[in-house]
């Protein structure tokens, strides 16, 4: 263990280096190899299709997504990270006892508060126009700030 005072040197990272070289080596060897030994026939319409067996897409995928997905993604990250902490706690639930329950309880309360806040602020509202109106009411323009001053 490190705490016993042994100085860690770069040698200790040797396994990581070996792993890295292996990963690079695998790609460097297999890709050219498969190119060498594979047989190549003429291109057919089936081969050019996105899916060899499956439903062909009718239209190109949309290039621009509504920004509301961004907000949802951000909120998802917040609650997803909470789950990570809960997993660690759940795996050690019997050992942690009431200490764990209290700690995770406080933590969950904070996350719930976040949920309540974004909910009340209308961030979960799927109606983009209504949300935009709410946001406009909530965030003033520089002019409004001037007037308040």
């Amino acid at each position: 263990m490190l705490a016993t005072g042994r100085r860690m040197t770069l040698n200790d990272y040797l396994p990581a280096l070996v792993m890295f070289l292996l990963a690079v080596g695998f790609v460097a060897v297999t890709l050219p190899l498969s190119r060498l030994i594979s047989t190549r026939g003429p291109a057919t319409p089936e081969k050019e299709a996105p899916y060899e067996c499956g439903i062909l897409p009718e239209v190109e995928p949309a290039q621009r997504f509504p920004v509301k997905f961004y907000l949802v993604a951000i909120l998802f990250v917040i609650f997803d990270v909470e789950i990570i902490f809960l997993f660690a706690w759940a795996a050690n639930f019997p050992e942690l006892g009431w200490f764990g329950v209290t700690t995770v309880g406080i933590f969950t309360l904070f996350v719930l508060e976040t949920l309540l806040y974004v909910w009340r602020r209308g961030a979960l509202d799927w109606n983009v126009r209504r949300r935009a109106r709410r946001f406009a009411a909530a965030s003033p323009t520089p002019q409004a700030l001037e007037d308040a001053a």
Partner: protein, 482 residues
């Protein structure tokens, strides 16, 4: 059962009070239509509760001496209490002078208030942390809150630019800091201050290990970035110029308090026995900051950029006191306390003149303010003289203490650089004073409300009072820290 870490509520009382305040503010903001009328009460109560928490901590330390809790992560000692008190004073003055900004944000005022409290929690944790991971956590909680504060409620190009720059460069600095922590752990096998201290004092090998030196260097660079010391200051002028005037003073002050608190502990505990090795680079950064900050401030045409570059040179002066190492940090803390209050006060006046959500403040706008609003003009004059280190202001006592400390710490050349820069600094500090009193202009006439009036008045009293009669505070500090 696993062993649970020892919990000491008294060790985190101020942070607890601020966190509860931040949560309550948010909940009230979304659950009541008349939230705006409650905000002053919540803000006042939170500040009062934090103050009460600090008093409880002081009594605890007076009775039991310093104590370590949370598995060796948090220390409760007088130095932490002093720094947190400075932080609380900065919050109180900042909220008073910037209250118009909070109310001007409308229904989002609660968010601003909550973010101010949360950033204070982060930087306060930095002051009491004795563990590098907790230090990083505090740094991030504080910094991220400040990024959001910089971007809050603005739709101006200038403000967006400032917020974006602050966020991107700040994140890079945090990453650099974290990489330093990682390398330090790889080199020493410990993340606690005490463990690193034991490693350095037990092992005769001093900084021969490249990995370790790189780690320590990155660690310091990350924090030097946060206090805007040259050559890591490039973000400061744009942010000080573009962020909302009502809150930018607090942003500058809070980040400086947190990072200086951490640097102080660095030279006290983990890197105490290798202070000789880090003294030269720290002193070089200090000298560079003082000189560069002063020279650049002279050529600025915007008061907010002047204040930003003066902040760079003040970071240099603070580093001057830190580079000497040692434990009695009275001078550094005195300097820090007086500087951040004057900074917040000066930006309060800027926000009164330019509007609390504004960006930029050209010197032209200040012409003739002496006639239009004598109180504000005289207050700004006192603040400017205080920053310059004029005798009879707290700035003089602070600079004098720092110079004495550096001189006795065998950094004579640094003192001479600092003295020369201080003399040159009078030029740019007095330029706005000249504009206010001796040049004609017909800019805006600021309206002074009572919260801003109290905030500026308080700062005035502290600046002049501590300049004329600093002995009681210095005695208290010496008794507490000695």
């Amino acid at each position: 059962m696993v062993e649970t870490p020892e919990i000491s509520l008294v060790a985190i009382l101020p942070e607890l009070a601020l966190t509860v305040g931040a949560v309550v503010v948010l909940m009230v903001a979304v659950s009541s239509r008349r939230a705006a009328t409650y905000l002053p009460w919540i803000a006042g109560l939170t500040v009062a509760a934090t103050g009460a928490g600090l008093i409880a901590q002081y009594n605890d330390v007076a009775a039991n001496g310093f104590s370590v809790s949370y598995a060796g992560m948090i220390v409760l000692d007088n130095q932490g209490i002093v720094i947190r008190t400075v932080m609380l004073a900065a919050i109180a003055v900042a909220l008073l002078v910037g209250w118009r900004y909070v109310t001007g944000l409308g229904t989002r005022g609660g968010e601003a208030l909550s973010l101010v409290f949360l950033s204070a929690v982060g930087f306060m944790l930095m002051a009491s942390s004795i563990h590098f991971m907790l230090l990083f956590l505090g740094l991030e909680v504080g910094s991220i809150s400040l990024y959001v504060l910089a971007a809050l409620g603005q739709r101006a190009k200038r403000a967006d630019e400032a917020a974006m720059k602050y966020f991107l460069l700040g994140s890079v600095a945090s990453a650099i800091f974290l990489y330093g922590v990682a390398l330090l752990y790889a080199g020493t096998g410990s993340l606690t201050y005490l463990g690193v201290f034991e490693f350095f004092s037990g092992d005769t090998l001093v900084f021969s290990d490249g990995l370790l030196s790189a780690g320590v260097a990155l660690l310091f660079v990350g924090l030097l970035f946060k206090i805007a010391a040259a050559p890591f200051h490039s973000w400061a002028p744009d942010v000080y110029q573009g962020a909302p005037a009502g809150i930018v003073g607090y942003m500058g002050a809070a980040a400086k308090i947190g990072a200086i608190a951490a640097l102080l502990r660095f030279v006290q505990v983990p890197f105490q026995s290798v202070i000789e090795s880090i003294q030269v680079p720290l002193a070089a950064v200090a000298a560079f900051s003082v000189v560069l900050g002063t020279l650049y401030a002279i050529v600025q045409q915007d008061l907010r950029r002047v204040l930003a570059y003066s902040g760079v040179s003040h970071a240099g002066f603070l580093l001057m006191g830190i580079a000497t190492g040692g434990v009695a940090e009275v001078q550094v803390l005195f300097y820090l306390a007086t500087y951040v209050l004057v900074l917040v006060g000066a930006f309060g006046i800027v926000s009164l003149l330019e509007g609390s959500g504004s960006a930029g403040s050209p010197i032209e706008n200040w012409k003739g303010l002496g006639r239009r609003s004598p109180f504000l003009a005289w207050s700004l004059t006192v603040f400017m003289l205080g920053m310059a280190g004029m005798p009879a202001t707290a700035g003089f006592i602070g600079k004098f203490g720092i110079f004495t400390r550096a001189w006795s710490g065998d950094l004579e050349w640094l003192v001479i650089v600092g003295l020369l820069a201080s003399v040159a600094a009078f030029f740019f500090y007095l330029r706005v004073v000249v504009a206010m009193f001796f040049e004609d202009g017909d800019g805006k006439t600021p309206k002074l409300g009572w919260p801003a009036g109290i905030g500026i008045g308080l700062t005035l009293v502290i600046t002049v009072g501590l300049g004329l009669y600093p002995t009681p505070l210095l005695d208290v500090l010496t008794a507490a820290l000695g």
